[in-house]
Amino acid sequence: MGGSTTFGESEPPAAVEERLRNILSASGGAAAWEWHMGGKRILGDSGFATLYGIAPEEALSGISPGRFFAIIHPQDRDRMRLAMGGMLRGSEVLSKQFRIISPDGTVRWLQARARAHNAQRSGQGPEQSDRFSGVLLDITEQKRLEEQLRIAQTAGGVGTFEHVDGFGTATVSGQFCALLGMHAATDLPVRTINALVCAGDPPLIDLAARPELGLATHAELRIMRADTQEIRWLMRRGEYIRDADTSGVRFSGVIYDITDAKRVESQLRVLNETLELRVEERTRERDRIWRVSQDLLGVSDAHGVWMSINPAWTTLLGWAESEIIGNTSEWLAHEEDREATRLEVARLAAGHKTLKFENRLRRRDGGYCWLSWTAVPEDGMLYSVARDISAEKEAAAALAKTQEQLRQSHKMEAVGQLTGGIAHDFNNLLTGISGSLEMLQARLAQRRLQDADRYIAAAQSASKRAAALTHRLLAFSRRQTLEPKSTDVNRLVASMDELVRRTMGPPVQVEVVTAVGLWTTLVDPNQLENALLNLCINARDAMPDGGRLIIETANRWLEEHAAHQRELPAGPYVTLSVTDNGTGMSPSVAAKAFDPFFTTKPIGQGTGLGLSMIYGFARQSGGQVRIYSEVGLGTTICLYLPRHLGSADTLDDGSSAREAPRLGKGETILVVDDEPEIRVLVAEMLEDLGYAAIEASDGRDALVVLQSTVPIDLLITDVGLTGGLNGRQVADAGRALRPELKVLFMTGYAENAVLSQGHLEPGMHVLTKPFSLDALANRVQLLVNGRPT
């Protein structure tokens, strides 16, 4: 193709160029073109040549339709062929947008406009065009802007409109229609648009407005969507500007949906309006609780100064609100609770919570109210609730009192049992003593002195047994006077070995297992010997047909848990256990084993004081006793004694003098006792022993002697004295006057309080009644002369 000179038949090229130039200048377009139907050629101007990348001369002479369509984008080509086909078949007007691919490869948007030219305007025959001509405008930039605007409108949900004053329709965007729920259109009647606006709201486009140029307006309005009849809020913003085409006023604006914002706004408004109401309501609820609460509610500052309290305070305590506010509750707190209360407030102020803190606050009537507090600190304030627990406290006190009474009645019952048992034993012994004395009297009257010794011995034996019995009783009541010494239990056991074996007899095989490096313990060794012997005798009685007896010592360290189980403080202990393989005990029997007078032995074989006595001794020594027993297998009884850090004292062998040699060298001894028989007896005994005795019947008499210049080598005094001063006070007063004064207390039982919990100052000693002449002589000798006989 491309024969540039073949076209133009009747027309010279210059004429064609002239016409094209005119078209171009008239339309202001970028390129002019003309389609000659008969020759199937498309002629163009220089702009057209540039678009097609051909020489202007070639464009002027025309290109083929195939060439014309070749640069059109493939996606638009068929559409454009249809449009051109329409023109070739009788359409008169063409207006199409399409893309071309330029010779340089870029894609450009073009707008084609064309009109058919009627060959014969004169009008003979059917009208038939022989050509159509038009312009090609490059609208790439416009398209891009349109596309950007469309994206912006769609993304932002913004619809645009333009209305020129005097026109019934407005130019609108697709998004505009979508916001109103209408089908997409480019023009809509203003009345149609405004008809969607809810009554009472401003119109979207105000036809009656006569605004100044440049005025910007906005309005919020509700519309009923055309499709769903849904009510939506729209914002309309617009400006009145000069319209270039009509020189009228153009109202150009946008709309966008503000329903959500409106809804939030309205919710906010409702919230705001009701906030006060709701606060009031809630405050009223809180107030009601505040007022009706029976518990004390209060708010205080960090120092516990009350800022606000509820009426329960007045109801419960009787104080007016004004008396409480502005002060801490310290002035109301019970003296004993004040410090604890102060500490608790400080704890609260430091950020801790208070749970179940109890104290007493004074009521107006002078009584006290027990309160249980719960409190929390917040924002520098303390919020407290207190519950009246006075009734609970009273109930607890009543319960404790009842329990105490119950215990007391149990005790009385025990004392009754004890008294009965003792009376029985004592009567036996007294019968022995008085019988012997009667026999002695009779023999003396008959001058049959050869039998006198026998009766004296019998009486002495009975009174010794009576003394032992009272001693055991005292041990049980834990009022025996212990003389604890640092004791090596292994050595003690060894010294008992022979005695134990003899007591057990041949059917019982005795094994002694002593721990190497056994700690020392602080106990009264005599009592420990008694305890051991008792345990062995019990064991023997549990093995009527013989068996094995094991005496064992060990060091034990009791951890917290084990110690707690044994009701002991944690720490090191020495254990002494006695195990037999005898009949054993059922759990119920074992549980009662330490009860006083509980015995498994037939009546007459024992008082049942043995184990309870051991228990009393162990507890008084800071230790414990435990039983491990199974029926048919045997029993282990284990004594726990606290470790003592110190070396063992030399064991006093306790042997006593059989005779009463004269020991004294005329040393002076002051004897104080309100019982004249005992005082006289002791004084006579002392004089027999070679001492000088001064007697005093009470504390005052004794003090008179002590205040005198008479030298006193030893003070022997009963602890329980009538007349105001007890023995201990006499001794203390004596010590004040004569610091080196040696003291020997005589006592039927050890009054713990008087004798400092059983422990005495150096130079003070105790002699337990009843005592033998030998024992007295021994102790006096030891004290006065500084050595035993």
Binding site: S64, P65, G66, L82, G86, G90, E92, P189, R191, T192
Partner: protein, 214 residues
Amino acid sequence: MRTAAKLSELERDALTELVNIGVSRAASSLRKMVGREVLLSVPAIEIVSQREAVTLIGEREEGELIAVRQDLSGAFTGRALLIFPQATSLELVRAVVGEELSAAEAAAMEEEALAETGNIILNGCLGTMANMLRQTLTMTLPEVFHGKGGGFFLPDGDPEPDGLVLFLYINFSVLGRDIRGYIAMLLDMPSLLTLKLLVQQFIDSVMSDDADAV
């Protein structure tokens, strides 16, 4: 059946061009009749249901409408409507019959002039298409209706209209005045299928145009 009547994008473009050829013929006839420059063009078409047509016209035209109606038989069976806003109809009449008539005279011949104009346009449009199919088309005499739009598409109180409407936007340009209107064609299903056949023929014809030209 309904989907069978659906048009592809290319078919829609082709149908638009077909209609444009038709209205160009009509414009040519009008030009001869009134001796003035008359241009007609159809920028867009839509195929919608009768109900949608009611909504569309209702949204776009708020005021009173005037319609020229003709029933069809032959190549197409159905009904064709040319619709204008009432407010612009007198302007159209003036443009067609001339400025020299007084307002009273123009008003007196309004209906007659509209009926004739409508006849030329609808006949040009549909007749051209029937010609292309080499089929005959019979059209009843034009009738002029006034109404609110919706009624034009829901004739005879049909409660469940399910027919399709070929909805065309038409621009008149007479002596520099631009007047817009609508052409609506209520076609039965066989007619729509015939239309589709015509469209395909047109496409085939255009696509073979430049086989010899390239």
